[in-house]
Amino acid sequence: MKKNKRLWNGLLYVSTFFAATSISVGMLMEKFSLTLDSALGTQSKVLNSNGKDGYKAFTPPEDTLNKNGTGNARALIKRAIDMDRKIAQEGTVLLKNEGNSLPLASGKKVTLFGIRSHTPILGAQMGNPIYGGVIDLENALGKENRTHFEKTKYSTGWSKDADNFDFDGGNLEINPTMVNVYEKVKSSRTTGTKVTYCEGMTSPYLPTEATLSELSNADANYKASFSSYNDAAIVVVGRAGTEGVDYFPGEKGCGMMTGATDPLGLTTVERDTIKLATDNFDNVIVIVNSSNQMEIDELKRDPKIKSILYVGFPGAYGCLGISDVITGKVSPSGGCSDVFAAANRSAPAAVNFDEYTYSNASSIARASKSSHYVMENEGIYVGYRYYETRYEDAVLNNGNARSLKGAVASKGETWSYDDEVSYPFGYGLSYTTFEEEIAEQPTVTFDSTNHLASMDVKVKVKNTGTVDSRAKIEIYGDPYNDNTEMETSALQLVAFEKTPVIKGGETKEFTVKVDLQNLTVWDQEHGGWTFCSTGTRFALGNGSHEAMNNMLALDGKDPSVDLFMDGVGNAKAACNVTFDGMTNDFFKISENGTETENQIPYSDWNSYEPGKITHLSRKDWDATWPVEMKNLTAPESMLNDLEGKYYTVKTNETTTVTWGSKETEHKYYDLFGVPYDDPRWDELASQMTLEEGMYFALFGGPVFPAVKSVGFEEAYLLENSGNGVSLQLNASKDTNAPWSIKSSDPYALWHGQILPSAPLIAATFSHEVMEEVGEFIGIESLFAGISIVWGTGLNTHRTPYCGRNNEYYSEDPVLSGEAAADADYGAKKYGLILAMKHFAFNDMETNRKGVSPFMLEQRAREIELRAYQIAVESHRHDVFEDGIKVKDAGITGIMISFSKIGGVECSCSRGMLTNILRKEWGFHGYLVTDIQDDMDLASQELYAGITGIDIRGAQDFYTSTTPANKLGQQVDGTVLNASAYEHDQVMQETIRESNKGLLWAFAQSNLVNRSGSSWVWNFTWWRGAYFSSIGVFGLATIGFGVLTFLSVLKKEEIQ
């Protein structure tokens, strides 16, 4: 009896434990039900109707639909393959092609070398990964002409034979021995040296190239195969990219990389692999498979290397485009989106690219996010701006430019461009040659009312070869200003275009519009934009350096006389332009009508500690060369900023903002297509209660809180990322959409992240491609049932070392900004809000949460912020009629950086988020923090102007999720309840503006497709699982409880 009692008692406890645990698991699942749906493809909530408009506002293109209007997943995937292929066709950069080693004719027998030839890096490990089966290089180059997704599956996905696609591949004969050798090497790799399509990196980085002994171990006779496949050797070298990790300049970053002097330089193993190719083959082609510019000067200068191609990360199917270039199906037309320096550490920005901690970090409150800084004392000299400006000064013998200060690769007694730079920004060869000239004096037009000015440049492009090819047109301007005290670079990209295919021998003329705002200079001392109104010089060029030489030729410089010149310029490809009628302060007032002023004084360390930092200046390259700023002590005046004390919420003001108005009964979706300045937007926002306004401004997705007063339902509306929507087709957030792909569809597991990396997109120099990228993501968003994606990336490549460069376009703000504006324009056709990230200054991933980049406001404005400004203002896509803007294009979504700007968190910078972004640039829309960033500064963030904090997993607002329980203790002691801002006028005004902008953005998005429908609870398999578990263990608990009770009673009776 006693035994039974113990048994029942024990089982009672066991069942209680499992019942309680099941309840906990169930609560956890419900808490994250919508996130779980994304991962599992379930639907824990479904829409109760097709809404008011019934999916008419935005629809996918016909070629992705079946005749009955349902979605055709296979067609979508085919479109994805074509998209990747086109990007890689136009983005692949031919850097070197001696003796026309490329293209290779169909049927040629080739041998592939390098572990990356077998498993190319197609995306980043985190940030922009790719999913599912891919088309790798062997598949694309070979004769198979059919995908084999079952063999190339990565991470998730569908891999059935039935899912495969036919394509027109390279039809080369590929040495199977080496394919097998690399497969064996790959299979033998264990944790730490594993080889994948989306490799991450540790810091310091260890490349995973196969050693020669590994090759021998895999097949001792592998070299015997070479003679049968000796038409060419293709060697692939690469570097990975990911979030949270950086490369570090020089030997510090090399770690175990034997033979390298920089993590982006070649290692002994990579050199051995290349030597293996050059020792055995006459035609050796090297493919650079990296989004961080590798140091390849030795390959450039090696006569045994015949050709070099840059391919970035080509995405899931981009190898097809690379194959097209290699086999001559298309002539390459891409240009370098970043300069290839001989030694990346020769850039002045590399001097301060490390982990820097304040000497007094331990005494800083909020130290976990405020201990680190990076001094960007290279000034405006980022990327090619440095190399070209220093080159011009060296030619002109100005500013000690010839001194060896900062020289790394220069072999003589002076700094030498030719030694320091392998391939300039914008440079790229073709299978033909082009001559580009400015056909006639450009025409300048300006509009003083809207503060806009542009210049039409007629460019004559002659294909002087025999191969049909696209050409890229790059126009550079010299921002020389009347005020000679002002720091200006020698030139900067101001416009670009990609031509259609021009036949061999044919000449065509193209008119390229230059937005003259791209040439403005920030007046660091007085604030505001200035412009070289008396005129300046412009030049065309295959890259920045040719343009520089063309400008010098225009000025009468000749290498036979000016010995520092390293090339003959073409004066016909350059011109001087005057701007009659325009004044220096033409752009001082922004297009939005706001006077531009310094808004982020805290970006400059000298604002806290005058005179401490010297910024690089072309006035004296030697004396101002950046000094590494280690162990700086945060001055007393900076501490309040570092500790997040920016704004004190008022508790005693009388406020005038109207909340909860009943005078109108607008629904946000009824205002689809209504411009932002229409008074109905104010009326709509006034209908919201202060509590609704606060929730809507605080919680920025992926799930947005309901705002019942304006007809906005709580919903999951958002996903990552820049290289496609991060969702499987079966996980659509809107299964009512007619085109929604059902779980039973054979392609239901296809995942939308498949696009190439941003630098490859930028390298196309094609507005058409950039726009098509946006269109494609927009189409995906309709299939995914979401209205916003976090992406694409728009930060500037300050150095080649940032681990996240693969997500950002370029070192040049015009190229980046235009790419983003084009992508946004394409995405909007399908009602998608692209939320560009990370605004701004995510210059390094190390200590990204709160690191303080310090820089001049001039640098901030002209480099990083200019990219965002171009994307927000989007002059290229605005439409004017009779001087009145009838279509206001531009991005309506932005994600804010984790980092600070100077001493202040970007998410809390009212200067950036309200004064610059909204007032100067006229931004309206979605402005969200990075994931869970600065949640302890929520009030400061609201004051700065955010429209939400990205809080993954937050849902069930007003009940389970409230500001008080989600955001916790605020640094200023504020309790975030519904009445927190009842007596703060400015805060209420800011929240109102935030609400209004966000509602406006949603009302223009594809969310209106289902306007008026609401969500209802739905049964899912995982709900069934935890219900059953609770039921079984609950019943067991009751049963064992009864048995225990009876056995105790029996025992007591016996006693």
Partner: protein
Amino acid sequence: MKIKAKSLTYIIASALLVASLVAVIISNSVEGYAMSGFALTLTPLIIGIVLSIFAAVYPKILKENEFVKIILGLTIICLICWSFGNIILQRSELVAAQFTYDKVNKIGWQALIPSLISIGLSVLSTISVIIGSFLKD
């Protein structure tokens, strides 16, 4: 003094719970990673510790009151489950972050690891109480 096996399981459970309490406090004190409604995690844990110690120190009283003993054990199990369930709920987002996009966030690991230790210790203490229920008084 000879300690009976059943008492020993409560002693072990108490010790594990104290360690769990210390771990969760450490986790909660990491700057920027305080749990909201921490009292809801802490209070049941502390009550659980007190009850476990009571069960370990006064086995005779419990032996004479079978129902009290059974309900006491059940209460301890429920309190511990509540506590570690709450930690899981609170730390689930941190787990997602640290194992994906935020692997290099050292401070995040400083907060997460003690939480995971606390959960583990709590589960072990529950197992100890369960084992005790199968043993003789």
